[in-house]
């Protein structure tokens, strides 16, 4: 069964007809040629497919495209401002925050969403475990905070030792 939907992808409006079974990940990659989001596990366990949907990071492999008709999407392709890379992209390059690179688009989109969450004062398991009142201001991102908040993005190469400092530098 098919449905006509509209997606705003990286500031561009795209119209398409999708089978209701199509996920956002497959719609982006196979229908719209936006191959930045990667298909890792396809079960929401690895984070390689992470995109920003309405400014929030989500697993695009678990989101049906038809459910997000009209959605505003940013993928790794949309992070840069023209020729200028996003500060996180520059930091990943500087810190060598990858090896094979397959998880990187998801790591970057997740980190963009995560920094916005911390700025908005959202707690994490690390923050919430602290005694006494916390929030509502921005959360300072310690190494422990970054690791906890990025735990939905796996890196099979184990480049975490460079990913964490790359994010920390931008978070400062």
């Amino acid at each position: 069964m098919e449905a006509d939907i509209t997606l705003r992808v990286n500031r561009e409006t795209r119209w398409l007809t999708v089978d209701t079974r199509t996920t956002l990940l497959d719609a982006l990659r196979d229908r719209l040629g936006v191959t930045g989001p990667k298909k890792g596990c396809d079960h929401g366990q690895c984070g390689a497919c992470t995109i920003l949907l309405g400014g929030r990071r989500v697993n695009s492999c678990l989101a049906l495209a038809v459910q997000h008709d009209g959605g505003e999407i940013t993928t790794v392709e949309g992070l840069a401002d023209g020729p200028d890379l996003h500060p996180l992209q520059r930091s990943f390059v500087r810190h060598d925050g990858f090896q094979c690179g397959y998880c990187t688009p998801g790591q970057l989109c997740s980190a963009v969403g995560m920094l916005a969450e911390a700025r908005a004062g959202w707690p994490s398991a690390v923050t919430a475990d602290q005694e006494g009142p916390v929030g509502p201001g921005p959360v300072a991102l310690s190494e422990a905070e970054i690791k906890e908040r990025m735990s939905g993005n796996l890196c099979r190469c184990g480049a975490y030792a460079a990913i964490v400092p790359a994010i920390a530098e931008v978070a400062r």
Binding site: M1, D42, H43, R57, P123, A125, A128, D129, G132, S151
Partner: protein, 330 residues
């Protein structure tokens, strides 16, 4: 994946009507569990009724001092909500102990309650599973049992309920509001999920077309301290082996009030009523905490592969109560 139709519900009664008219229809919330099940072939509905955009996305204070949480409130918004963090830190802690930032941004309150077990055999259609395929058997009884139940299981099914949020809500005496074809009803959260018995395919007491619209959290007693503690195989982004949600009021060294729920050990959020009874009115001492935990776990029927959970649950419960009894209220 079997083809399905998709409809976006315009209002609660419309959503209920769509499901009432179609026994093969299912509600779709955030989709983080259901979409995976569609792909795995665990379920194959003919129609998905999207309820994620229904106007049930508010967190509102109630006149009695409690809080009403709408069914479509996202897990991330609930965890970060100032009212929840102030009044029910245990709930914020439980939500943040579950899943990942990405999943919490999609998952809804109602969907979290209705998520299904992560038993590997339930999710693998090539293996027997009485919950997924009634009468086919239970592969876990002679298989991988690390994540399975020590309390409340049956010879038909030993799967555990995977939610962290629901464990905290069980300890908070939450009530679930439900709309069905016959109108609205409310039930205790601890009555929502059922034990498998000889009908393991029925996770909850809800009838087809009954929709969760909200969860009400009653006010906590004065001086209550709360805590969610989760033990798992990796530091983050893993399901609980054992978890404890506890609410404790200590006055003059005695337990004035206590509510405890355990996660990861049973087919439903396990309210530890035996331990609560053993604790109430008694001295708030480690020895008593240990006796109460042991009384609760006397009913445990572990499998070969998860016997470690009995001492793990006991020690986690004792450690949580000891911590709550030790400090200033929060």
């Amino acid at each position: 994946m079997k083809p399905f139709d998709y409809r976006r519900a315009q209002d609660v009664s419309g959503a209920v009507a769509l499901l009432s008219a179609d026994p093969q229809a299912a509600f779709l919330g955030g989709g983080t569990n259901l979409v995976d099940h569609l792909r795995l072939g665990v379920v194959a509905p003919g129609l998905l009724v999207d309820v994620s955009r229904l106007p049930l996305d508010r967190i509102e204070p109630l006149e009695d001092g409690g809080v009403r949480v709408g069914a479509t409130v996202r897990n991330s918004d609930l965890a970060a909500d100032p009212l929840i963090r102030e009044r029910y830190p245990v709930l914020s802690q439980a939500l943040l102990a579950g899943a990942s930032g990405q999943l919490r941004n999609l998952a809804t309150t109602g969907g979290n309650l209705l998520q299904r077990t992560r038993c590997v055999y339930f999710q693998d259609v090539s293996t027997p599973c009485n919950k997924r395929a009634p009468g086919s058997g239970c592969a876990a009884l002679h298989g991988y049992q690390r994540y399975h139940a020590i309390l409340g299981g049956s010879p038909e099914c030993v799967a555990t309920h995977p939610s962290d949020m629901a464990v905290a809500m069980a300890a908070l005496d939450a009530r679930v509001l439900v709309r069905g074809p016959g109108g609205e009803r409310g039930l205790a959260l601890t009555d929502l999920h059922r034990l498998p018995g000889d009908e393991p395919w029925r996770d909850t007491v809800l009838a087809h077309a009954e929709l969760i619209t909200a969860v009400d959290l009653p006010p906590l007693p004065a001086g209550a301290r709360t805590r969610y503690r989760k033990v798992r195989d990796r530091a983050s982004y893993a399901f609980a082996l054992v978890s404890v949600a506890a609410v404790l009021v200590v006055r003059d060294g005695r337990v004035d009030d206590v509510r405890i729920a355990l996660g990861g050990v049973a087919p439903k959020p396990w309210r530890a009523v035996v331990a609560e009874r053993a604790l109430r009115g008694g001295p708030a001492t480690e020895a008593n905490f240990r006796r109460a935990a042991e009384a609760e776990l006397a009913a445990a029927r572990p499998l070969d592969g998860n016997a470690f959970k009995v001492p793990l649950a006991r020690n986690t419960l004792v450690a949580t109560l000891r911590e709550l009894a030790g400090g200033t209220p929060r």
